[in-house]
Symmetry: C2
Subunit: 235 residues, 2 copies
DNA sequence: TGAATAGTGTCTTTCAGACAATATGCC
DNA sequence: GGCATATTGTCTGAAAGACACTATTCA
C-alpha cells in the first residue's frame, strides 16, 4: 500500500528509500532536526521562560520547550524565528544558537537531533493559550530532559551576560540606565553598585542619550538611552 | 527495482518511505548530518590545521575540512573522536562543539546539515597520506566554503584563549611555563610579558609543580608543571 | 517637606603592564 | 667566564569596588 503512495508522491527534495538504504550500508543515518527555542523574557523582576503544555502521550500534561521541525528550503534561523511570529506576531528578538544534542537512544538509534536556540524578547503578550511564562527558578513538571536543557540555557545566558550586553535583548529600544542595571541584576542574580555600573557602561561608548526624559512617579525623571548599534557588544 | 530492495532490507532503525512522505506533508524534512572536525595543533611555532585532499569531483584536488557522517546509535562526540582514532591512533584531545550549519540550497532544499567540532591535539604523527597539516595563515585552495569555516574556528579559538586555558590542549601533560606562554602567544598572535604571564597563571591556583625539572640546552633548567584537573578553566 | 529614584564625587584596593635584576645550567 | 633561558622584585597607572553625597520630581 505505502509503496504506491511513495511512487505517486515522490518529490525531488526528499530522499528515496534506495538512497537511505545505500547510506545505511555506508554508515550514514538520516534524521529529522528539532529546532528548539528557549524563549526568555523578564517579567515582574524575574527571568521567565515560555513553555508549552503537552496534550499527547507520552508525558502528557507535562511542560516542554517550544520546538519546530526543520523543513527543506528553510534556514535554522528562519525556523526559530517563525516560532516568534506565531506567538507574538513579531520577530524582534535576540537570537543565538546554543547546542546540538544528538545522543542516541542506544536501543533503537534515535532519529531526532535537537538544536537549541536562545531567544531573548522584550516582555510580550502571548496569542496562544497552551503557552505560559514560568520563572526559571520555579519551573513546572517538565517532560523528558527539558529541565536540564533549560538549566544549561540559563547558565549560558548568565555567562554571556557577564561580559556582553546580551541582556539588552530584554529591554525596549529606549530605556533608563536603572532598567538596564536591573536586567543585569536579575540575570546575574546579584545586586550591582549603581555608581560603578553607570560609570562602566557609559565609559564603553556604546550608549547614547536620546534626549528624552521619562517622568514616572514622585521622583527625579530619568534620561532615556539607546544603543548606538544593534546587537550585543563586549563589556 | 529499488522498491523490492527496500522491502527486503528494511531495518528497524531506518525511516520508511511512508514516514518520510507523511513528514513531508507536515513540513518536516529528513537530513544527513556531517560531523566536521577542525583539528588544530601547534607545529614549528605556528597554529596548524589538518586538511584532506579531495579525490572526487566537484572541486577535485581542492582541500577540505575532515568530516564523517553521523550514524545511528553513535553520539556526536563519538563520531568526532573516531576521526582522531583513525588518524592518530589515539583520542587524547580537547573537543568542543562550535556551530551547526543548516543553510539550505534554495533551489533543491539541501539535505545535509553540518556540525562543526573544534579539536586541539598535541603535535601528532599522521598515519594517513592524503592528510596534511597547514598553517592557518597559509591555507591551500579550499573547496566550497571551507575557508570561511576555518576562519570562524580560528576566531572562536582565539576568543576562548583570551579567557580560558584552552591552549593547554596543545601541550603534553607536563610542560614548562614558557611552553604554555608560547602557546598563548601563537594563538593570540601577540607577545606576552613573561613576568606578568607567570604571575597571573600561577595565581589562579590551577597548576601544580611536578617536581621534575627539564634540562635542555645551555641554560638554567625549568620546572615542569601540570594542571591540577583535566579540562579547561577560566583565567 | 518627605519619599522615591536619578545622578555625581572621591577614596581605597586590586590588578594589568612595564622594566629590570638575579639564578642556574652548559660550553 | 659567557651565553641562554628560568625565575623573581618592584614601580606605575588604570580599573574595580565601596561609600556617601547632591538633584529633581510629585504628593
Amino acid at each position: 500500500m505505502f509503496l504506491k503512495l511513495s511512487m505517486n508522491k515522490l518529490s525531488s527534495d526528499i530522499p528515496s528509500q534506495e538512497q537511505i538504504l545505500k547510506d545505511r550500508q555506508k554508515g550514514i543515518g538520516w534524521y529529522v532536526l528539532n529546532v528548539a527555542t528557549l524563549i526568555f523574557t523578564i517579567q515582574e523582576d524575574r527571568l521567565k521562560i515560555l513553555l508549552e503544555k503537552r496534550t499527547a502521550s507520552p508525558e502528557e500534561r507535562k511542560w516542554v520547550i517550544l520546538g519546530k521541525f526543520l523543513d527543506y528550503g528553510k534556514t535554522l534561523e528562519e525556523t526559530a524565528q517563525s516560532k516568534l511570529q506565531e506567538i507574538f506576531g513579531s520577530t524582534r528578538a535576540y537570537l543565538e544558537q546554543l547546542y546540538l544534542y544528538g545522543d542516541p537512544d542506544k536501543k533503537i538509534g534515535k532519529k531526532v537531533l535537537t538544536i537549541i536556540y536562545l531567544l531573548l524578547v522584550p516582555n510580550g503578550k502571548i496569542k496562544e493559550s497552551n503557552l505560559q511564562w514560568f520563572p526559571v527558578q520555579k519551573l513546572p513538571v517538565m517532560a523528558f530532559d527539558n529541565k536540564e536543557i533549560i538549566k544549561y540555557g540559563c547558565q549560558r545566558l548568565q555567562n554571556k551576560a557577564t561580559n556582553t550586553t546580551i541582556v539588552a535583548g530584554f529591554l525596549p529600544k529606549k530605556f533608563r540606565l536603572s532598567e538596564l542595571q536591573k536586567a543585569y541584576e536579575i540575570v546575574l542574580e546579584k545586586s550591582l553598585n549603581k555608581r560603578n555600573f553607570r560609570t562602566k557602561i557609559l565609559s564603553l561608548g556604546i550608549l547614547k542619550k536620546t534626549g528624552e526624559m521619562e517622568k514616572k512617579g514622585a521622583h527625579r525623571p530619568a534620561m532615556l538611552y539607546q544603543f548606538k548599534k544593534e546587537g550585543i557588544s563586549l563589556i
